[in-house]
């Protein structure tokens, strides 16, 4: 018997932001075919507009109650909707950065913005997928667009090399994830996360080997995408070789989307297996990633590469939050979470996990604006004549920036302080929420390691500030060219970094609500 599925308009609500992005991307591609004109600024404007509209829809969705949609293949919950809103913010800023960047290199094309929007749509859909094949397809939608973006500039050997490395490791990790999903399908007979989760306890007793192999492969696939430490080798080369606005999008969007999917998948898939296993797994990964990322960033003189390692370290702090979700319940307290705790809704006491969700979301928001701003400043300082010499991103390029472009130097200083977690920036508040949630979950030791390693990080972030403000500009230094879209993006991120750091406003309350993740 064939049952025709019945869809209501409500089912399509979660995919609306992605639909807006995809339609805009198609329009942009068609604009390349039909409207050939010398100026292409309107393309950047159209792409930015699409991200603003999609982001607005996502914020609207974030206040809907959590529920399953599209027959359980997707979910509509605040966690994924906030994530989509952040992706739209990050993509919008990356588009603004790209406009000036590409114009400077005579490479501005509608396809570039279209690919960015496709990647953003993939990220948004990845965050709300609740079924393995949907998850895999959306992961690939996001990744394939990003591979193409990485290799987009065809000047010199670096972009294609970065694109190639990203492609090989990205496809490798997707294949790991897929094979893991196939094994879990064999063990449970389902691919929807909620059904897999229900069938796992029985499957674990029947065939533990199959379940362990499946879980391990799925988690390894995600670990590659979020660049957790044993799986991080691709990050520095890819981040360095990609066009800088694309690097910004990768460090903020791709990683955040993979993180949200990792949290959702692992929350569903730990049913039945011994509870301390995921905890030790994520804590171990968090420990290695926090320490490894910060130590590897220490000796870097190449600022772009330093930020690549720093993004690994930040993934480590987020993994600390994920580990807190799986902390053994005995150690957990049910008292108030954190300093800026959420107001209890419906008379319920906020539990540890809502504090962790708040920490993760706020940290992702802070990292999105900060890293977009930091990579944006780097992209504005790049000179085409340095590209062949390979010292484009050397610390020397920042020497004396305070005299040449005081506004940029101030903004970059704010981004560096935020990455280092120094108040009054959004990076500090993010770390505060995340670490206090981890402490509430009983992870004192890990939180201490996190704080210590972020103190190490302050050294290499402040070094950039020292170069900008205390070193004289080298003799051959030129005043960087201004471009209004780049400056708009830099101003937006700088205002967000400092503003959210001082007045987080209602955002902390929105992020701290209950029922953030469907089914949990």
């Amino acid at each position: 018997m064939i049952v025709t599925p019945v869809f209501t308009l409500n089912d399509f609500l979660p995919v609306m932001p992605a639909a807006v992005l995809v339609v805009a991307a198609i329009v942009l591609m068609l604009s390349e075919v039909f409207l050939v004109s010398a100026t292409r600024t309107y393309q950047a404007m159209l792409a930015t507009l699409a991200t603003v509209v999609a982001g607005g829809v996502a914020v609207h969705n974030a206040f809907e109650p959590a529920r399953a949609a599209l027959q359980g293949y997707a979910v509509l919950d605040p966690f994924s909707s906030w994530m989509t809103a952040m992706v739209c913010l990050g993509t919008g800023l990356a588009v603004l950065l790209s406009s000036g960047f590409l114009k400077h290199r005579n490479a501005e094309r509608g396809e570039f913005y279209a690919l960015m929007l496709f990647a953003a749509a993939g990220m948004s859909l990845l965050a709300l997928s609740a079924e393995f094949i949907t998850l895999f397809i959306n992961l690939e939608v996001m990744s394939i667009a990003t591979y193409a973006l990485t290799a987009f500039l065809r000047r010199g050997p670096r972009p294609s090399e970065a694109g190639f490395k990203y492609f090989i490791l990205g496809a490798f990790s997707a294949a790991l994830l897929l094979y893991g999903a196939a094994l879990l399908y064999g063990a449970t007979g389902a691919t929807k996360l909620i059904e897999v989760s229900a069938a796992l306890p029985a499957a674990f007793i029947a065939s533990p080997g199959l379940v362990y192999a499946g879980l391990g492969l799925v988690l390894a696939g995600f670990a590659f995408k979020v660049a957790a430490v044993p799986f991080h080798m691709w990050t520095p080369d890819v981040y360095e070789g990609a066009p800088t606005p694309v690097t910004a999008l990768m460090s903020a969007g791709v990683k955040a989307a993979a993180f949200i999917a990792l949290v959702r998948t692992s929350l569903f898939l730990v049913k039945g297996i011994p509870p301390e296993m995921p905890f030790y797994l994520f804590s171990g990964m968090a420990l290695l990633t926090m320490i490894g990322g910060n130590l590897l960033a220490l000796p870097q003189r190449n600022v772009k590469r330093m930020l690549a390692y720093s993004s690994i370290a930040h993934a480590g702090y987020l993994l600390l939050g994920v580990a807190a979700l799986f902390a053994p319940q005995g150690a957990a307290t049910t008292t108030d979470v954190g300093v800026f705790s959420a107001t209890p809704l419906m008379g319920l006491v906020p539990n540890v996990s809502s504090g962790v969700y708040k920490g993760i979301l706020f940290y992702l928001l802070g990292y999105t604006v900060t890293s977009l701003g930091a990579f944006g400043t780097i992209s504005a300082l790049e000179r085409r004549e340095d590209e062949t010499r390979g010292n484009t991103w050397d610390l020397e390029r920042f020497a004396g920036l305070a005299q040449r472009r005081p506004g940029w130097a101030l903004a970059m200083a704010a981004f560096m302080l935020s990455l280092g977690g120094v108040p009054p920036t959004v990076g500090f508040l993010g770390k505060l929420f995340l670490f206090s949630a981890a402490v509430d979950a009983g992870l004192l030791g890990l939180a201490a390691v996190g704080i210590l390693s972020s103190v190490v990080g302050v050294y290499f972030y402040l070094r950039v500030v020292v170069y900008m403000f205390m070193r004289p500009a080298p003799a051959d230094a030129t005043t960087p060219v201004r471009h209004w879209t780049t400056e708009l993006a830099l101003i937006t991120s700088a205002v967000a970094v400092v503003g959210l750091g001082i007045v987080p406003g209602p955002i902390t309350e929105w992020f701290g609500r209950l029922g953030m993740i469907f089914g949990h």
Partner: protein
Amino acid sequence: MIQTISTSHYLILAAALFCLGMFGVLIRRNALVVFMCIELMLNAANLTFLAFARARGDDLGHLSAFFIIAVAAAEAAVGLAIVISVFRARGTVNIEEIQSMKH
């Protein structure tokens, strides 16, 4: 006496293909061979889906295979384009020579 081929035969074949692909990605030096190894891994996953779907008698696994084939094709298109651009930039597709960024 005809020996029937059971589900576990298919699964072992798929696991062997997957391991072959995985080690190929890790140790082979030619970009195109690495690329083929990734396709091998995806198809091993496909075969696993199909074998389980046949054993269980449901069509979820068959359905998944179609989606995976489509995605693999899209991935191959972009991947080959990137390999071509690597070749144009350097005149080689040997992975050991693709190391211009230093640590």
